[in-house]
Amino acid sequence: MLPSLLAMEATIQVTGLRKRFGSTVALDGMTFTVAPGKVTGFVGPNGAGKSTTMRAILGLDSVEAGQALVGGRPYRSLRHPLRQVGSLLDASALQPSRTGRNHLLWLAHSQGLGARRVDEVVEQVGLASAIRRRAGGYSLGMRQRLGIASALLGDPPVLVLDEPVNGMDPEGIRWMRGFLRSLAAEGRAVLVSSHLMSELQDTADHVVIVGRGKVIADVGVSELIESASGDRVTLRTSARTQAVTVLAGAGATVAVTGADTLTVTGLSGERVVALLGGSAVPFSEVSAHRASLEEAYMELTRDAVEYHAAEIQESAR
């Protein structure tokens, strides 16, 4: 099905990006799509190519192969780019002696916007009290809010944010989560990078997991957690040795994970309860294991990334 032109506006399409810094491969065929109406997490360890990809999307870095399109067009061909794409790459990229408001003002002027729009976005990010102070005195959290404000200036359908919660306090992180979700709910495509999967726990609908310049997994968050959880069962028992004997005898893989806890793989919760009851092994709790996003991510990026990528894409299908 061909996407409609209107839907095209709020998308990012990254296809086969390749880039090298000297002998280091930065991007190795990076390919993914960011859909409208969702927060898409862009996750990977430092050096995986997240920032380079974002700079390529914004037309700041050239690539040797592939292309990045925003709303179906290369960024460099956009006339008022900030009205198409709002971006925040580095919240500290500020002239310290310029006030936050004046920073937003010159950006607004460059897009043909006026001071009224500046006041609107300042209100939106809750920075009104500090906006007339020199940006050099801002905390990292305030800079992130200023960065979000500048990304919102043109009220764009697409947002590209590099580590926007980095350096924020817990209250700020909570605000940012809600804010990003509300931006996506308005139909915008929101791409948010992070090197910590946990930061995206309650934010992202979809994640693009990258390592060594390419996509390892491109998957919905609920599917990812399901697949990482697998058919594992957590068992709490005082008779650990007996339980291992019984369950292993039934064909399960049993791992000791604590003084009185075991993780059982290969058997359903009901079967475990039935087996333990039949052998009169005492237990206090049996629960289906639910992986956190962080766990799922750790599992993916632990060692052989390519192998895991294949596996997860198989299971996600």
Binding site: S4, L6, A7, E9, A10, A35, P36, G37, K38, R55, L58, G59, L60, D61, S62, Y75, R76, S77, L78, R79, H80, P81, L82, R83, V85, S87, L89, D90, S92, A93, L94, Q95, P96, S97, R98, T99, N102, H103, L105, W106, L107, H109, S110, Q111, G112, L113, R117, S150, G154, D155, P156, P157, E186, G187, R188, A189
Partner: protein, 515 residues
């Protein structure tokens, strides 16, 4: 797949996409950083203050005989307010109405003395003697002269700055001046039979009765010794002697005899250099009939002397202009700028236009204040003025502003290429300010100085030269005297050329590099 997402619609209205928006953005950037605004104000202030300080620090502490003002402090002013030398020996009579004077010069000799004891014979290149028609014997009055010179043949000169070359280099030389109203024609001849017109000049408002006759003058012999430590000049008086015969007068010549006079007050006044023998007349004298040339040690004041502080203002502007770009690289703000305007050449162009404008206005204000202020101070100190036409004065003031503005764009371009403020500031100071100082402050001899002011962007300082070089006046005309090797427009073009080149490289670099 659930397609519940409604397409996003931006609430911000789309306006036109113009270069004006970019200009406005860059102007907002500039005015909202206090350091840059302060930098410009400082540039204007140091320019004015150094100009004033230079004027206030120059003290004339000399007095002539009997406590009078010293010689050279109040030179006669020629037509147009040009300060002039008007010293010569003159054997003259009245000429009323139209008429002519013809004379044959049989010999021209001169002596000079480098130690005041032993005279050495030898003509100066511009030793001159011949016939002259002059408004009056008052120094600075109008004249037209036809003269035989030491090394430059026959010349028709008038009103101090006018100089027309004749063709005759042999002696005896026949000379003739013919007055007809305000117009005076000069003819030369080798034999008194075949005459050649050297030139015709107009002396506006010449009175009916004028003084006419034979004259002799010989400028001082200048010896300038240059070294890397500076230049030292010494000058020795010289004296020319010219012999005339076959004098013939046509028209209204009421006097019966020649009157010998030292015009402009000779050095001693002991002997008037005029003798008559038969139909021959011998005139001998020192001095010169020529415009005064500005220079080191002179007591006169030029328009540009109030602008000596421009180099300091330039340094401040170089810092502001380079930082306008390099600070974006330092802070990472360049990525914000280029994502706001992906057409990168336009970002650089907008920055250049904004910088050019603000520095031009700054320079114009500074120069317009510095020139009259310095002039007022110097006038108080007793300096005389080298008056120049208003157009020239405007060119000096506006040219200085334009120099600062183009230098700002040059610094911006260098800053874009190097991306580091320390490097960019050093490069521009080394290629522009340093050569200027080396040349102007007599650190280098005039040869290397001239060379520097031809090939470096410092050549643009030629826009500040208000006085022309006179081919008929021997002087050093070195950069240290305020004389540049290139014309104002050519010097300015050198800076513009470097700036265009740097802008080209900067545009390429900005486009090709990852931001």
């Amino acid at each position: 797949m659930t397609a519940t997402t409604t397409p996003f619609r931006s609430g911000v209205q789309v306006g036109r996409d113009g270069f004006g928006q970019l200009l406005r953005a860059e102007w907002t950037k500039f005015r909202t950083v206090r350091g840059w605004v302060i930098g410009l104000v400082a540039a204007a202030l140091v320019t004015v203050l150094i100009g004033l300080f230079g004027a206030a620090a120059s003290n004339i502490s000399c007095s002539g005989p009997d406590g009078g003002p010293c010689a050279g402090m109040t030179p006669p002013m020629g037509p147009g307010g040009v300060p002039v030398h008007d010293n010569f020996s003159f054997a003259h009579r009245s000429l009323t109405g139209d008429g002519s004077i013809t004379a044959r010069m049989t010999s021209l000799t001169a002596v000079s003395s480098s130690d005041g004891q032993n005279p050495v014979s030898g003509l100066q290149p511009w030793t001159k003697a011949g016939i002259i028609i002059k408004e009056s014997t008052t120094p600075g009055s109008q004249y037209a002269a036809l003269a035989v010179t030491g090394e430059n043949g026959v010349r028709m000169q008038h009103n101090y700055t006018g100089d027309i070359a004749g063709t005759l280099f042999t002696r005896p030389s026949w000379l003739r001046l013919t007055r007809s109203g305000d117009t005076i024609a000069g003819h030369e001849s080798a034999d008194g039979a075949n005459w050649h017109l050297v030139g015709t000049v107009t002396l506006p408002g010449l009175p009916s009765t004028v003084r006419a006759g034979m004259f002799a003058a010989s400028p001082q012999h200048e010896v300038i010794t240059e070294s890397f430590a500076g230049a030292s000049g010494r000058s020795y008086p010289t004296r020319a002697t010219a012999e005339f015969d076959r004098i013939s007068l046509q028209g209204g010549w009421p006097d019966d005899t020649w009157t010998g006079e030292d015009i402009g007050g000779g050095p001693g006044g002991d002997d008037i250099g005029f003798q008559e023998s038969g139909d021959g007349v011998t005139v001998s004298g020192s001095g010169n009939i020529a415009p005064i040339v500005a220079g080191r040690g002179g007591l006169g004041t030029t328009v540009e002397s109030g602008l000596v502080g421009a180099f300091a203002g330039l340094i401040a502007i170089i810092v502001v202009a380079s930082t306008f770009m390099t600070s974006e690289y330092r802070r990472g703000l360049i990525r914000t700028s280029l994502s706001a305007s992906p057409r990168r050449g336009r970002v650089l162009a907008a920055k250049a236009v904004v910088l050019w404008s603000v520095t031009f206005v700054t320079g114009l204000v500074a120069a317009s204040v510095a020139v009259p202020l310095a002039r007022a101070v110097q006038r108080d100190k007793g300096h005389f003025m080298f008056t120049v036409p208003t157009a020239t004065e405007l060119r000096v003031v506006i040219g200085t502003a334009a120099l600062l503005a183009v230098a700002a764009v040059f610094s911006l371009a260098v800053g874009t290429v190097l991306r580091r403020s320390a490097g960019a500031v050093s490069v521009v100071i080394v290629v522009m300010v340093l050569p200027y100082i080396l040349a102007i402050a007599s650190v280098l001899p005039s040869g290397p100085s001239d060379w520097l002011l031809r090939v470096t962007p410092a050549a643009a300082f030629a826009v500040q030269q208000s006085l022309p070089e006179y081919a008929q006046v021997t002087a050093a005309y070195a950069p240290a005297d305020g004389y540049f090797p290139l014309s104002p427009s050519a010097g300015f073009a050198v800076l513009c050329g470097y700036t265009a080149l740097a802008l080209g490289v900067a545009t390429l670099a900005l486009r090709r590099r990852d931001a």
